[in-house]
Symmetry: D2
Subunit: 304 residues, 4 copies
């Protein structure tokens, strides 16, 4: 299937939405991104790449990094992981402490901040260095060695991330953080600061559409079942407090970040990444969500 005309139609259709939504402004590095950016890239398991707009411009992937760190934790711990993290939708604001309190320090799922902190803790325990090991993993996924953290972003997050610090100490009070909280937070903020483009992210996510393997060399990243698991977690927990709405409108597993990126997957076909910094009320890219909705409507593709 040639996605070029569809991407062009989407590109035209979403123009009126650019500038709408609210750009994340809790740190200056995110606030300064131009509101009219829009990029989209589709990577098929057959190796074809379709892209449009600002698809080669790097942005802060933020919570999309949780997909990759979760993948590493599943490699490291398999199902043992689920003794420390749940896999249910959170049903409240994405960084709420309430549910964590009621459930004795077990985060509802690996995509809320608390869950991702536990994932980071696991990576830190196994690798010692949770900065390097994540970079190395991303480099393998992308076949590209120049992807890096945006250290200014990581630094700003660390300076202002009091709520994440509260989460880390709260997890520690329940015994569900084994390393030093300051170290875990530092690694977590670095992972969120990864700077990648739509093209790079679509490529990095292709193993999720390809049964856990890299299509170009058949390298097994996770088992076929684990790839399905990650997709199901993205579907039920990947887009903050609007997973139902996203599943309803887009019909694909996806993971969003406050930088305005969304990575989505159609199993056995493609991964797709869209980026536009204006966010809707749920914290997902406004134009990006609409672009994905148009994409599945125009192609007739949906997991449902």
């Amino acid at each position: 299937m040639n996605y070029t005309p569809i991407l062009e139609e989407i590109y035209t259709d979403i123009q009126p939405l650019l500038g709408e939504g609210k750009i994340a402004d809790y740190i200056p590095e995110l606030a300064h991104v131009s509101a009219d950016k829009f990029g989209m890239a589709v990577q098929t398991i057959d190796g074809d790449l379709y892209h449009i707009g600002d698809s080669a411009e790097k942005f802060s992937i933020q919570s999309i990094s949780k997909v990759f760190t979760l993948t590493m934790a599943m490699q490291l711990e398999g199902d043992k992981l689920w003794t420390r993290i749940g896999r249910e939708p959170s049903g409240t604001a994405f960084n709420s402490l309430v549910q964590l309190e009621y459930e004795n320090g077990i985060p509802r799922n690996p995509f809320i901040n608390a869950g991702a902190l536990v994932v980071t803790d696991i990576i830190l325990t196994h690798y010692g260095n949770a900065h390097r090991s994540v970079l190395d993993f991303i480099h393998i996924l992308c076949r590209q060695a120049d992807i890096d953290f945006d250290r200014a972003v990581a630094h700003s997050e660390r300076e202002t991330g009091y709520r994440n610090a509260a989460l880390a100490y709260f997890l520690k009070s329940f015994g569900n953080l084994h390393n030093d909280a300051v170290q875990v937070l530092d690694a977590y903020f670095h992972h969120c600061s990864l700077a990648m483009s739509c093209v790079e992210l679509a490529r990095a996510g292709i193993y999720l559409a390809n049964g856990g393997k890299l299509p170009w060399n058949d390298q097994v990243i996770v088992t076929s079942n684990q790839a399905k698991y990650i997709n199901s977690l993205m579907l039920t927990c990947g887009t903050y407090d609007s997973v139902g709405d996203f599943a309803y409108r887009v019909g694909l597993p996806g993971k969003s970040g406050v930088g305005g990126g969304i990575l989505a997957v159609m199993p056995n076909e493609f991964s797709v990444c869209v980026w536009s910094p204006g966010l809707n009320a749920s914290g997902n890219s406004l134009a990006g969500t609409r672009a994905l909705e148009l994409f599945t409507t125009l192609t007739g593709i949906s997991i449902f």
Copy 2:
């Protein structure tokens, strides 16, 4: 694909699970069902039927009825429906009043009891008679005129359903129930009391796998998009507080009931119904969930 050997393997494998789990006992009619029952039926969109065990025995479909009443409400109101009901997972126990209070009387989704009461209210407003209209609809779906309510079950539910009565009056206090609470409750309890077999339920659900149409006569029940919407709602909200776990293990949209039934759908392929009365901690059929997990593992079928 011939599903017979797979159903036979499943039937053997789940034998040790029969008798495990807890049978719903809040009304005597449910409590008296034998714990070792197990039935399963697969209805393909090509018209093939595969079934095993107690697949022809009628059981109380309970919350599975919410799929059919939601379908009717979507026929009647389209997207207007979503002004009175959300479509996000609830993240807490399935009949909790807490979230309803925090969200000003808008139930999180149509599959929690509060949401289904609003759905019933809509049917009552449009049809006047919410008993007859639902029976008529089920008869069309099943091509079968003898499916009926179990009036003893409906009566017992009404006598003891104080929590649902609380929900109905609470919705009314927010102005989100337009008819008399007693009337809505009576209709709701009747819908839940529908007595159907696995074979009948698999047939009744086939439109969800077939783009909204009945395969035998192409009658449009809902649009193709609406069928996808219902499937996505089942995936994200259909199995109480374990939607994440169900999506992870089974990988299909599904809706369960405390009677021990689960209806699941593989789009463009089949609908499947499984029944076994012992429930797991989340209120879903224990052997039924395992049977569906085995089914998707053995066939390699999954929406992810």
Copy 3:
């Protein structure tokens, strides 16, 4: 002590507040009360009465009735009462269902609606007729046989009291309501509809300042300890979600109602009733709270 000049000073001082605040308008009978009403009456244990303004005008005592029904329940059940009701402040809105759910149907205290419904249930169980028995009790307290329910108010409450109906059925779902919910609600709404004046209410409450006895004939209403208990419950739970603020500013045990009345007690000295229909954000009489604050400031009287 001659309270006349103090009442006159208060009367002058609060004039600018009349018309401020919000009159309860959920039923027409309360909404139609004139906003500039203000009355105050002090009844000493020595038999002196001081009063000013609209102190002889009857108003709807609403939740102040909970003091009298609690007194009856303590007469009937003694400490056994506390197996069905807690005695801790609620810490959230006065008719919240949340806490009831988390505490398995045991209302936090007898002054939130859920607690008062349990109190009414107890009276109904013991007396059969919860209308007559409460009227009889009030007549004894006031030495006056003409105090009655305002049946129009009771009727309106019943027609619109969906939230209280939800509470009653919710209590019933936990087994903490022994009588028919409709009957309990009817009695409860009648108790709240009692029409009394400041003078009558101050007289009715004097046993709480007098060690549990009526001062004019030494009739024991409750034991001296029970009177202290009721006072402590008024202090910690009597003024909705602003008990801390009320204790801080007024320094006396008190119970308020949405009709704009507040009954307060200085042990061993007097009971005082104030009425003005405009309510502050917490649902307590705005001018009434200020009048009581002035009263304790000007007299230097406080339990603290």
Copy 4:
């Protein structure tokens, strides 16, 4: 009034309770206290002192320190204090993060940990050194310069106090902590570690019974109104989630600590301190609460 025979009767009566209850064991320094300790001291505003048992043995005053730091914050900020802290009972567990989230970082009252951290923050802002200034204040209250922190306790608290760290960062995320979180926590843990005896604490609290003044030299600690305010806050918020029960049974304003101490006040008469390390389910000294209940029952003294 000569309290000696009453203290002796209490001492005898509570013997069977010693060893009951649970000694706080989250740090070794508290866990190692002997379970059969019991001391009690009554300090009258006339200068008389009555005491019994281990009344001269120092213990960790823990949350009782919140009374003294609140007093300092009221001296420093007056009513401005209440823009950063509420004065309502919390209605849930004493260090819950839930309510803080729902109320946007404004702690319910100054006696829950979050509120006391804000109080400490205020002291730190005004004095620069929140260790020295609190010690100096205690020395004035006690007329005694040898009262000090137990630095081993403070150190242990700091090493394990992850939940308080979470609270501090959470407050900071709402902008309600102006100083560095680590510094505030260090000061807070030191205040809690103050080691004092019943005799010393009863003396330190006498200004609350004496209209805000030290009886021996008429030094004004706080105004008469502020003393009443602190007493009302102790009554409504001083004993964790059992303020209603404590008010009901004891009938005096009081503040407890997990070290097993309770400081209570009868306005215009005396302050009383009791200590016994075994705690009841609410975290208040079991024998201590009973001793105070006996004391008010035997003397007939109560604010109600």
